[in-house]
């Protein structure tokens, strides 16, 4: 596709806006952040990995923009956090005035806007503009000469949980191909409410277990198995997590290539997904899940 043309048309459109607004003294055109990408699908793909469509009003995400890129953070109480990082290298243009911008946005609506042209295979060019505190996040999407403008209200950013994962020693970590880990989770009885994850340098090495009214189920992956790209477990650790909180992380395995699963001494489970983008770049999506209270680490 001839991307040059579409970029030109975007610029023209933007400049046109500026010209028209110059006469209006009350209007101040101020853009603190501008980013352009030729293929919006890359963004949609990564963001959908942390998006959970279960909420009626849509899911809220905290957006943090720095010179390195844009980070989207979703949370569930104090027990769950998912982050997606869109590094600036993904974008054809990435300009930020100042050091950081932070606000909250309706992630479900954002994804709806990004997907406005449907799931066609043609490229949708995207421009994101932000005028600073209080302003809307303005999206401009173009496909085959058709341009759509969307303005999304931004909300006050509140504190996000800091799981501080690294603060507690990380003694267990494994790396698996996403498909294998997804299979393991799919074997579980999803009608149960909880799942226990065990990591150990000794048998059974890696175990997922659920137990519910129908009975119990456990899946063991031994250390030497070729499902593991890496297996580094120093101590025996097992913790129980709410199965529903693991849902998004497991769902994300569907679009990721590899996953690193880690457990720190506090029992927090971290799943880091490596996503291979269409443009051959790599992006990361992280999930942190806190253990259920009554479990103790060994």
């Amino acid at each position: 596709p001839q991307m040059a043309d579409t970029n030109d048309s975007l610029d023209t459109y933007l400049n046109k806006d500026d010209t028209e607004q110059q006469d209006d003294a009350d209007m101040e055109v101020q853009i603190v952040f501008l980013a352009k990408i030729n293929n919006a699908r890359i963004i949609t793909n990564i963001l959908s990995a942390i998006h959970s469509s279960s909420k009626k009003e849509g899911q809220t995400a905290t957006v943090r923009i720095t010179v390195e890129g844009i980070k989207f953070i979703v949370e569930e109480g104090k027990s769950f956090q998912g982050t997606a990082f869109l590094q600036q290298e993904l974008f054809q243009e990435f300009t930020l005035k100042g050091e950081q911008e932070e606000f909250k946005i309706n992630l479900s609506l954002l994804l709806d806007c990004l997907g406005i042209y449907g799931t066609a295979t043609s490229f949708v060019a995207l421009q994101i503009a932000y005028g600073g505190y209080g302003d809307s996040l303005v999206l401009m999407l173009e496909e085959n000469g058709i341009i759509t403008n969307c303005g999304l209200k931004t909300m006050e950013a509140s504190d996000v949980n800091n799981f501080n994962f690294r603060a507690s020693p990380i003694q267990n970590k494994v790396i698996m191909e996403a498909a294998f880990l997804q299979d393991a989770f799919n074997e579980l009885d999803w009608s149960s409410t909880q799942v226990t994850v065990l990591l150990s340098p000794e048998a059974p090495f890696f175990r997922l277990a659920t137990s519910g009214p129908s009975g119990s189920c456990q899946v063991d992956y031994p250390k030497g198995s070729d499902v593991f790209e890496a297996f580094e477990c120093d101590i025996t650790q097992y913790n129980t997590y709410k199965l529903s909180l693991l849902g998004p992380a497991v769902k994300a395995l569907g679009i990721s290539h590899k996953c690193q699963l880690r457990m720190n001494q506090a029992g927090v489970l971290s799943l880091q997904h490596l996503i291979k983008n269409e443009d051959k770049n790599i992006s990361f999506v992280d999930f942190f899940i806190a253990p259920e209270e009554d479990q103790e680490d060994e």
Partner: protein, 400 residues
């Protein structure tokens, strides 16, 4: 108490068995004897029964402690999820843990993966169905695929199907309830099959039987996955029909379907009008199944006393009486198999079968699995002559 190991080559059969059982009924009944394991289920409406028998030779190892028969029942539904994906499985250990009161499936998969499922069981008595597989009855032998292709022409959601056969004809029709003045189903389908397409077609007395299509399809799909010919024994309206498949002498399954009593007949049969079905869990006095190779005497009635139990097949929205379905449990005299049915209702004229939309999401799923079964025969050793002398075993499974 019991432990059996299924080798890799028979995993598909085992997994398909459990999936079929879990789709047919809510509970799965297991009986472990010194020389075989039998899994049975009965559907909710009590109109469909299945029994799967695994010979000792099916298993790599089999241990029954103290050689005492074990009988128990578990919820069937979890099995559906457990055995849905079996292509990675390398071996399955089925074990009855009497200390924990749990039935255990220990599954070893590729890449060293091990899975263990424990399902709570309760002890129970053996449940059996009454049916006759006497070859003196009407019977047909065919590839399950033929029947699947035939029923594939009937619309999705059709509840019952009618099969009419004479000595040299066989017709399949969608069933409509005449008593319902405004049958919702405005589409009726009818198909003639060619008796010559069957491996065996032996109809001694005309019949017209109506039974549940959904269960029939489930049964056919399972039989199709085995890649063997099936034998269907049919008597007449009101008597259960049965479908049986043998698998190289180490595994066999029987399906029994209740059929509707023909309300147009006079009653040498005893159609007691029904009220709600009672839960029919017969005790160990239940009638035994009889299976003979030669023309035989009638089944001797069992010791069971009571009057035949009638099961309602489906409730009618208008409150008009539902079709009465024949009992497959309880005491019963088997009627003379040679008694002519004398169907008074006119057969519809033969016409070219019209093909309508195909139903079967379920079937396409099974079709995919059936295709993958083709390679199984390479691993089989034929223990006994699997079929009766006059039945042919196809040398290779027909390509689809």
């Amino acid at each position: 108490g019991m432990e059996a190991t299924v080798p890799q080559r028979y995993i598909k059969v085992f997994a398909n068995t459990l999936t079929c059982l879990s789709k047919l009924g809510d509970d799965l009944y297991l009986e472990a004897n010194h020389d075989k394991i039998i899994l049975r289920t009965l559907n909710n409406a009590h109109s469909a029964f299945s029994a799967f028998q695994f010979d000792l030779k099916f298993f790599d190892s089999y241990d029954l402690r103290d050689n005492i028969d074990r009988k128990c029942q578990i919820k069937a539904k979890p099995c559906q999820a457990i055995f849905k994906q079996y292509h990675n499985m390398e071996s399955i250990v089925l074990a009855l843990d009497e200390d924990e009161q749990k039935l255990r499936f220990e599954i070893r998969c590729k890449h060293g993966i091990q899975k263990m499922y424990k399902l709570a069981f309760v002890e129970c008595e053996v449940m059996k169905a009454i049916y006759n597989k006497d070859e003196g009855f009407n019977h047909i032998v065919t590839l399950p695929r033929r029947l699947l292709e035939c029923v594939g022409n009937f619309q999705n959601g059709l509840e019952e199907i009618t099969v009419l056969a004479t000595r040299n004809s066989i017709k399949v029709k969608s069933y409509t309830d005449e008593s319902k003045s405004n049958d919702r189903r405005s589409l009726q389908t009818e198909m003639d099959l060619n008796p010559l397409d069957f491996e065996e077609f032996d109809i001694k007395s005309d019949f017209r039987v109506t039974f549940c299509l959904k269960e029939f399809k489930l049964m056919l799909n399972f039989c199709d996955s085995l890649g063997q010919l099936l034998t269907c024994y049919i008597d007449k309206a009101g008597q259960p029909l049965s479908i049986s498949v043998r698998y190289f002498g180490i595994f066999e399954c029987d399906f029994v379907l209740a059929t509707m009593i023909d309300p147009t007949l006079d009653s040498s049969q005893t159609p007691t009008t029904t009220s709600s079905s009672s839960a029919v869990m017969s005790t160990s006095e239940a009638v035994r199944t009889e299976k003979r190779k030669r023309k035989s005497d009638h089944l001797s009635p069992s010791n069971l006393s009571t009057s035949p139990r009638i099961i309602q097949s489906s409730t009618s929205p208008r409150g008009s009486p539902s079709p009465i379905v024949s009992p497959i449990f309880g005491s019963q005299r088997m009627s003379n198999p040679f008694e002519s049915v004398g169907d008074p209702s006119p057969h519809s004229q033969t016409s070219n079968p019209e093909t309508f939309e195909h139903a079967m999401e379920e079937e396409s799923h099974f079709k995919k699995r059936a295709r993958s079964m083709d390679g199984m025969s390479d691993h089989m050793e034929v223990i006994n002559d699997p079929m009766d002398d006059d039945e042919e075993v196809p040398s290779s499974f027909p390509e689809k």
